[in-house]
């Protein structure tokens, strides 16, 4: 979270996304606010259905405006993307804000050469010759670490491995030197050794192009290694939002505690994992009050009644949405780390 105003690339205020369905209105994202600066990686974590992907699709203008009700503000370079006419938005999307999706198998057209697909991305926003576009495609493939880029550009996607396809997707996203790169579960479909390569590549790209990265993932390990700031989402709402170091070392929200405690550790065998009981709520009828209260071990009287606002409990702490008193959080947080470490065999 940057305090400097000039470095801010993206400022999202009160983003809310509703989908009318035959069963009722699904409120997938509720009142989400955050900002992103140059050189920053914002990690967005949460389980399936927490609204992490939908909020990014809304920012990118990739949700059907007729069938979704989106409110709030998404300010990019002084312009609100939510009210921008579709034609103007098209000049920003894919150019200034680029996106890398989870499944590199589904995102490349199987019948066109990889180089041609990247070249097409070049000509989409730039009036250049076909040859120049192809040359740019080869240059970018080389840049993201595809060996023999010149000949591999003529390959079809099925000739690429999963990791190479994801590299090609990143190359395509970089075509117009974007300011923001949104990565939606970029490594989920990849093996762990390839995942490590892609994480390194995203970090390199961020430094080199001086861009802001939004990294959406369910993998807390990936976030811990790359993000500067972390936003923890549950049932479409932000539960906790702060510097990565604080989120992992002094998490303040019981949901974050639950997430961290249920993660199997590679460093030691735990006597028992501590799962979060129950399952995430339906967004058709979210529970009243705090959306996490039915699964929360620390709930008390106000939780099912009042929804806690996202505020900093203390000036030096980061904002969280929880009714627990600060002293209690400190006490429970300390107890928690003792229990977990005490598991060391």
């Amino acid at each position: 979270m940057s305090t400097s105003h000039d470095g801010t690339l993206l400022d999202v205020r009160g983003l809310t996304v509703r989908f009318p369905t035959s069963d009722g209105v699904v409120q997938a994202v509720s009142d989400v606010s955050f900002s992103l600066s140059r050189g920053e990686t914002l990690g967005v974590v949460g389980e399936s259905g927490s609204g992490k992907s939908v909020s990014n699709l809304a920012i990118m203008g990739l949700l059907n405006r007729q069938r979704t009700a989106i409110s709030g503000q998404v300010e990019f370079m002084g312009r609100d993307l939510l009210t921008l006419p579709p034609d103007d938005l098209r000049h920003i999307r894919g150019k200034d804000i680029a996106m890398v999706f989870q499944d590199p198998f589904a995102c490349l057209h199987p019948m066109y050469r990889v180089g041609a697909q990247i070249a097409e991305a070049v000509t989409a926003h730039q009036d250049v010759s076909k040859d120049a576009a192809w040359a740019r495609a080869v240059e970018l493939l080389d840049h993201v670490g595809i060996p023999n880029a010149k000949s591999r550009a003529r390959d079809y996607p099925h000739q690429f491995s999963g990791g190479m396809r994801q590299r090609a997707m990143i190359a395509m996203a970089l075509v117009h030197n974007p300011s923001i790169l949104i990565c939606d579960e970029p490594t989920t479909a990849l093996d762990v050794t390839v995942q490590a390569q892609i994480i390194e590549l995203i970090e390199e790209v961020k430094r080199e192009f001086d861009i802001g990265v939004i990294l959406v993932t369910h993998d807390l390990g990936v976030v811990a290694e790359t993000a500067n700031a972390v936003m923890v989402m549950y049932a479409g709402r932000i539960m906790e939002y702060g510097p990565a170091r604080q989120i992992f070392e002094q998490p303040q929200h019981p949901y974050t505690w639950g997430l961290l405690d249920s993660m199997p550790s590679i460093e030691r065998r735990l006597t028992a994992l501590v799962p979060i009981e129950g399952s995430p709520p339906s967004l058709l009828a979210p529970p009243p009050g705090c959306p996490f209260h039915p699964r929360c071990r620390y709930r008390f009287e106000p939780c099912p009644v009042d929804r806690p606002p996202l505020v900093s409990p203390l000036p030096e702490a980061h904002p969280d949405a929880c009714h627990l008193a600060w002293d209690e959080k400190v006490r429970e947080g300390a107890k928690r780390s003792v229990t977990r470490l005490g598991d060391a065999a």
Partner: protein, 352 residues
């Protein structure tokens, strides 16, 4: 009943799949899915099989259960050689071996009720009084007996996986093969299922073969692990020894590649390139094209055998790691001999 403590004994297990190549399918080639594996599964233990996609871990498990026919080798289950047994002759043994699948959405028939799904093993093996047994099973796995008449779509992913566990438990098997049972689940639900599997093992004295690509999950559940790469076991041994002191460079690279949610610097070995094609696996040591300790003239000529390097820990490597963790230089300079320069491997380790 075999006298020793092994429930499954696998010798020289090999499976090759024929694939057609080319438009006219003239060139017949083979995928070397599993190549000469030796393995035992002890009674009451959890054997974890780890490796990246395509390394042959699922094929190995399916061969153990004879869900696939062997190309070569033998499998002994509970003292009986089942490698060439007919499916009919195998049927009575089938109730002793069960499987839990990865995808709780596609492994349950959407048109059958939970009662029918979990009761199916009883029907197949002609056992009566299934309904009460099914309701007991549902309670055992943390579901309610009232769920008997519901359909799979009424359940969440975690609950569906519990249904799959109940079905596997139905005939009180000795062995359960869990093929990526928690990979499709969110982390909070994953922990619920892992705890359930651990408790069931304790209560019913089960033996698990647990397949996963997730090294953290394997650490929580497995007593011993087999690390596979391109159809071969590269390292085998007690889970704790392997996690604390990996001997094979591939195991070390895998362990160091896992992102961690805890702070603290460590070295990461980033392997270059991808896993080679199992149609034409590299000669000798299958890992040599990606290995930071590659020694020309040995690793690409002589196949390393799985040998015991510490008590209860074997690795198939000519230059096993002397210690762990290691720096980049130490990894490259095995026994004083610096590896031949391979430009694409430069900068393999990074300080985090």
């Amino acid at each position: 009943m075999s006298a020793n403590g092994n429930l499954v004994e696998v010798e020289n297990l090999t499976k090759r799949f024929a694939v057609k190549q080319g438009v006219f399918a003239r060139g017949k080639t083979e995928v070397h899915a599993v190549e000469g594996i030796n393995l035992t599964v002890r009674r009451g233990e959890t054997l974890g099989i780890v490796g990246e996609s395509g390394c042959g871990k699922s094929t190995t498990a399916r061969l153990m259960l004879r869900l696939l026919d062997l190309t070569a080798g033998t499998v002994r289950f509970d003292g009986t050689d089942i490698s060439t047994m007919s499916q009919r002759a195998l049927r009575p043994l089938r109730r002793e071996m069960q499987m839990i699948f990865q995808d709780p959405y596609s492994s349950l028939n959407p048109r059958k009720t939970v009662g029918q799904i979990v009761g199916a093993p009883f029907a197949i093996h002609g056992q009566k009084g299934a309904k009460t047994r099914v309701q007991e099973l549902l309670e055992t796995v943390g579901l309610s007996p009232e769920h008997y008449n519901r359909y799979p779509h009424e359940f969440s992913g975690g609950q569906r996986q519990r249904i799959g566990v109940a079905r596997a438990l139905a005939l009180s098997p000795k062995l359960i093969v869990c093929d990526e049972p928690v990979s499709a689940l969110d982390v909070s639900i994953q922990a619920q299922i892992l705890n359930l599997l651990r408790n069931l093992q304790r209560d019913f004295n089960l033996t698990y073969v647990f397949i996963s690509h997730d090294l953290s999950v394997i650490r929580q559940i497995a007593d011993r692990i087999a690390v596979m790469y391109l159809g071969k076991i590269v390292e085998l041994g007690d889970s704790e020894s392997i996690y604390e002191h990996p001997k094979h460079p591939y195991t070390a690279a895998l362990l160091s590649a896992v992102p961690r949610a805890t702070s603290g610097g460590r070295e990461r070995i980033v392997l270059s390139g991808d896993v080679p094609s199992p149609v034409d696996p590299p000669a000798a040591c299958v890992f040599h094209p990606r290995c930071p300790r590659f020694h020309e003239g040995q690793c690409d000529v002589e196949t390393p055998q799985l040998r015991e390097l510490a008590t209860g820990q074997s690795a198939a490597c000519h230059y096993p790691l002397e210690k762990w963790p290691m720096t980049d230089d130490e990894i490259r300079q095995a026994e004083g001999a610096e590896r031949v320069d391979r430009p694409h491997l430069e900068g393999t380790a990074h300080e985090l």
